[in-house]
């Protein structure tokens, strides 16, 4: 059984790696976007599993993007390494901020992360000498000289890393610690879990993923700007995706990202303005009618039929 499962993984991996052969450039670009959102949605969900809801994805995404571009431009570091540096910058920032902010819970944490994302944006916009100010910075060329196949491999790697990280979190002791923090923090504390340490750890890891994704995004499009890189979309869309697919699961956010990413590309063609409307409607409907998301609801149904 085990071997056949690994074989399946390998077949899927080979299929994913060779995908550029079967698809055109446009479709590949759509898949790139979906893969980027998979990484963002998963990283958001990983933090959510500890009960902390972050509205600051766009902040770390933007910081990672700017850091990657600036490391490349000012220090001449190669794009690939600078993307990693972008993740590192976001992680360090998250660590510094998290030491203070992770004392907060619930809506206070959510609002503070939203405010922090805005603060990062304002700071970057007001340092024109370093960041190019409101106009942003343009790179001389996109990563891999714009090769769509290599770009695809890059974002695929990012998405796979996030999936592996998420599965790692779900299958090790960390999973129990995080879940117990979410369910009842006092119980978690009294069973000897260092709540704060775990929260900081998860916050830093997920921020690193978001920063790296931001760095990759910046290098793929060769451009960063305060409004573009810190766009609310990078906060809202991953949240809507994770919510739709099913929270607290690895494959939930992935499914949500694939569904919503494809839908939004389609809608962009038909409704150029206001295609985000669908996201709002999906968030509202999901919360009202099936707060567990698609996979969560399916899982419950299956469990019911099993026992009943």
């Amino acid at each position: 059984m085990r071997i056949s499962r690994y074989l399946l993984y390998i077949v899927i991996l080979i299929f994913l790696l060779t995908l550029p052969i079967y698809t055109g450039v446009y479709l590949l670009n759509v898949i790139d976007i979906i893969l980027i959102y998979i990484a963002l949605a998963l990283s958001w969900d990983m933090l959510l599993r500890s009960g902390q809801i972050s509205f600051g994805i766009a902040g770390l995404f933007g910081v990672g993007g700017y850091a990657a571009v600036l490391f490349h431009l000012k220090l001449g570091i190669s794009p690939l390494i600078s993307i990693l540096m972008g993740g590192l910058a976001a992680a360090v920032l998250a660590w510094l901020v998290g030491m203070a902010v992770l004392q907060l819970r619930g809506m206070y944490f959510a609002i503070v992360t939203l405010a922090l994302a805005e603060i990062f944006r304002v700071i970057i916009r007001n340092l024109p000498d370093l960041t190019g100010g409101p106009e942003g910075t343009v790179l001389s060329s996109a990563i891999f000289a714009g090769s769509s196949t290599r770009t695809y491999w890059l974002v695929l790697a990012g998405a796979i890393v996030s999936i592996i990280a998420s599965e790692f979190f779900r299958r090790t002791r960390i999973h129990f610690a995080i879940t117990s923090i979410r369910n009842d923090e006092i119980v978690a504390r009294s069973s000897g879990i260092d709540v704060f340490k775990y929260l900081v750890f998860i916050f830093v890891i997920t921020s690193a993923i978001q920063g790296m994704t931001g760095g990759a995004y910046a290098h793929i499009y060769g451009f960063v700007s305060p409004e573009g890189s810190f766009s609310v979309d990078f906060t809202l869309l991953p949240i809507a995706m994770a919510l739709l697919g099913g929270m607290h699961l690895t494959w939930g956010p992935v499914l949500g990202a694939v569904l919503l990413g494809a839908v939004s590309e389609l809608l962009k063609l038909y409704i150029p303005y206001g295609h985000l409307l669908v996201y709002g409607v999906i968030i509202v409907i999901t919360i009202l009618f099936f707060p567990q998301g698609i996979l969560g609801t399916l899982g419950q149904r299956l469990k019911k039929t099993d026992t009943g």
Partner: protein, 311 residues
């Protein structure tokens, strides 16, 4: 008694210091003082209905500013199609947004009252998105503005000229604040609403219709904020995202004043409005004014959580 007099002295000291500061500011940068107060009252009048919802219904309405945006568009189109003055449009706006409030409460908000905070936040977030994108879809993101004669009226004292029309914000803030305080303290419905805000279960036990109170307060707040949109659009250009920053700013003011402290919102918005205009008045640093609110919201929440932990 001695403690009481001390407290009184301290509040007197604070009052005296702030008056002195205001006078110094008035001589040094009169623009900052006048425009700061006007701006502060705009913030306060928008934050008050949100505070009402948060204090009594217990929901953070992240779509708050977007209701104001819709109110502004409402007044705009009323003016375009019927020629009604936006300031008169306040009254139809009150009525229309009371209905909108009822509908959104019955259709959406009611179902998440007992849900976890996360769901409430996400739901109102989704609602905000729907409203912004609908506005974007129907009216595009192009900013629009009415040209009204009376808006640009001004007064001159010595060599210093300032706009007088913006005093309408101060009037609106005082009317809304006084009206709400009177409603909550003096009428039996208002007192019932306060009781529901303090303890819904206890209120239910003594025979208050909790659900109807929630409905009333929610719709009332939406009506107020819709009407404020009508005032807002006389002076500012409007576009689909115009309301979103006000949601954050309102929440910041409420967090700073403390939930349930309506009068405190006015003082906090005065501090913030003046501080923001003060930063704006330095050429080259105006871009940093945006950060004040956000820095403050982080600071206030951190300090308050620290205080709670110490207790």
């Amino acid at each position: 008694m001695s403690l009481l007099s001390k407290l009184k002295q301290k509040s007197y000291q604070i009052a005296i210091i702030s008056v002195v500061l205001a006078i110094i500011l008035g001589f040094w940068k009169p623009h900052v003082l006048i425009e700061g107060i006007q701006r502060a009252c705009l913030y306060a009048v928008i934050a008050l209905p949100m505070a009402l919802i948060l204090g009594i219904v217990g929901i953070i309405n992240l779509a708050h500013g977007d209701f104001m945006m819709l109110g502004a568009y409402f007044a705009y189109f009323l003016n375009v199609y019927t020629g009604m003055d936006p300031l008169l449009a306040i009254f139809p706006a009150l009525f229309a947004f009371f209905l909108i409030g009822i509908v959104s409460y019955k259709a959406i908000i009611k179902y998440v009252l007992g849900a976890p905070e996360l769901n409430q936040l996400l739901l109102t977030f989704g609602l905000a998105m729907i409203m912004e994108q609908l506005a974007n879809l129907f009216w595009t993101s192009r900013p629009i503005k009415l040209s009204l004669n009376y808006v640009s009226s001004s007064a001159t004292i010595g060599s210093f000229t300032f706009g007088t029309y913006e005093f309408v914000y101060i009037g609106a803030a005082i009317i809304v604040l006084a009206g709400l305080l009177l409603f909550l303290k003096r009428t039996s419905t208002g007192q019932a609403a306060l009781a529901v805000g303090q303890n819904p279960r206890g209120a239910k036990l003594v025979g208050i219709h909790v659900d109807r109170t929630y409905l009333l307060i929610f719709s009332l707040s939406i009506a107020l904020v819709g009407a404020i949109g009508a005032i807002f659009m006389t002076r500012h250009s409007i576009f689909p995202l115009v309301g979103a920053p006000f949601t954050m700013k309102s929440f910041c003011l409420i967090a700073m004043a403390g939930i349930g402290n309506l009068l405190g919102i006015l003082w906090c918005s005065l501090i913030l409005g003046l501080a923001e205009n003060f930063v704006l008045s330095f050429r080259g640093y105006a871009g940093w004014a945006d950060i004040l609110f956000f820095a403050l919201i982080v600071l206030v929440i951190m300090i308050r959580s620290r205080q709670r932990q110490v207790k």
